[in-house]
């Protein structure tokens, strides 16, 4: 119960602090609008019948991932440089609960990107996205939030070990967008890249969202992808647990919580 309270308050505080930052507001508001326009122009001459879902969902997902990179991951660096990382690390609430709260706060706030990219597509290009299975879409979005949060938590843990957070943060942003098939199907990637796609949970989350808005409804495929997403996220949970144990001692050995 105490842990949940910490997660709840941390998420609220995170939303407040993140929204106050101009860079985050840019990622949250400008990014999905620009992405939607660019993707629409790129896809409009394609022969894909489902290009609208790639434009709207792709733009939203790209902006969501950018928000997560620049907030969840970037927050570790911000906290380090503002001297609060060490304070939250030694707080009795526990580092894992605090990081979870931060990531959840950012991810929930970042979901605004979907609404903005949907509105941009509707207002500028007069295109609608037809949701054939709204409950499945809600379930898919919920699973995506959980899986994105989980991967962010792991990234955040790893970044506590190094002071070069900014560099790593920039390095992971674009490759994940490309490898996980945010704006094109992951199946068109070269064979040797695909294993990387398949071990990343966003690949499955994106696929699940796309399936839920697909006009060709394939319930078997939907549940297969859902099961894979749950399994991959569960593996992340286990990795995250052991990583936390390792990192909790390593940051104190390596002294990476602060800048001197």
């Amino acid at each position: 119960m105490k842990g949940l309270k910490v997660i709840y308050y941390t998420a609220l505080l995170q939303m407040k602090c993140s929204f106050a930052r101009p860079m985050f507001r840019f990622c949250l508001i400008a990014n999905p609008i620009v992405n939607t326009v660019l993707l629409y122009e790129m896809f409009k001459s394609s022969d894909r019948g489902d290009f609208v879902s790639y434009v709207v969902l792709g733009a939203g997902l790209m902006a969501l991932w950018s928000c997560i990179c620049f907030s969840s991951a970037g927050d570790i660096n911000r906290e380090r440089y503002s001297g609060t990382l060490s304070l939250i690390y030694v707080a009795p609430a526990g580092f894992s609960a605090i990081i979870t709260g931060k990531v959840i706060g950012n991810t929930i706030l970042s979901m605004v990107t979907f609404i903005l990219s949907f509105l941009t597509a509707k207002i500028l290009f007069r295109i609608d996205i037809k949701v054939s299975h709204p409950y499945c879409l809600l379930l898919a979005i919920f699973c995506a939030v959980v899986s994105f949060s989980m991967i962010s938590i792991i990234v955040a843990y790893l970044l506590t070990l190094s002071r070069k957070t900014q560099l790593y943060m920039n390095c992971i942003e674009i490759p994940v967008i490309l490898v996980c098939g945010f704006v094109f199907p992951a199946e068109i990637l070269p064979l040797w890249v695909r294993p990387i796609s398949y071990i990343l949970s966003p690949t499955w989350a994106v696929k699940l969202i796309r399936l839920s808005v697909s006009e060709v409804w394939n319930i078997k495929e939907f549940y297969t992808v859902l099961c894979i997403l749950i399994a991959v996220t569960a593996v992340y949970l286990v990795i995250g647990y052991f990583l936390l144990k390792l990192i909790e001692s390593q940051v104190r050995v390596l002294a990476t919580l602060e800048v001197s």
Binding site: S82, G83, V90, A91, P92, A93, I98
Partner: protein, 324 residues
Amino acid sequence: MDCVIDVQDLHREFVTSKGWVHRKKERVKAVDGISFQVKRGEVFGLLGQNGAGKTTTIKMLITLLAPTKGKCEVLGFDTFSQEKKIRNRINFIFGGELGLYRRLSARDNLKYFACLYHIGQEEADSRTARILELVGLSEKADILVETFSKGMIQRLQIARGLLNDPEILFMDEPTVGLDPLGARMLRDIIRTLKEEGKTILLTTHYMYEADELCDRIAILNHGKLVAIDTPANLKKLAEEEEVIEIRLEYPMENKVKEIEMIQGVKQAVLQQDEKDCLLTVKYSAGAEIIEAVMEILKGTKVHSFSNREITLEDVYIKMLEGLS
């Protein structure tokens, strides 16, 4: 009184790597085998130059850093393997302007940290209000911290450190950046906490502060403990010395050198202020130097002359100069 901090043969090394192709590892010994104990209710001071190992020692005690070697126990628990049993019973205040969420108000900062220390909502509200009053920030409670002055940030740091009513409070140069009123307020808070039976471990560069507040003092130099005792006993180490202070117009430099040549004089230091100069002469107790000093200063306008007692600063400087 029971022992609440137990440090035995404590070491901490930092490893840094240099170079791209041939990476070289460099090891820096920040703390090099120190041992001390702090009793419950004691105000214990850690003094030393920059880089002496004071902050590293505190960071190991507050469970933020792992010791490389040695015993480091707080409230009977190991700071590296049993940190969860310690964290809600201690707190710390670091000097400087870091350690707060600048985009939040002072009240929101304290409420959030109260949540992280598992303090209930109502209790958090009342403690926040009381502590803000104590540090003189009640009127600024709902203003964003990014608009605060250095001193106000430092006061808020102090408030944060008191939130969980800690049994042991660690303070690393807490008066840095505080104006005289703020520094006095903090000293009053430390005295009140001591009366309440709290244990305080304090580092400071202000010797008069350590002398005034600490029951015992440990002096660190290059990571090693060079002295540990009460301020009164430490001052006895320089008992064989006396000090005269002379306020005067700026004298010729050679006159200071001449004073140093007087038999019995150990050191003559000239410090220039805005209005005049302060000449501090340390000499062997009992040596008759005053007439000789005044003779040399003949022709220089002397504003005041005093024979003062040995201070902790004299002892500290003597000790570190002796070591270097």
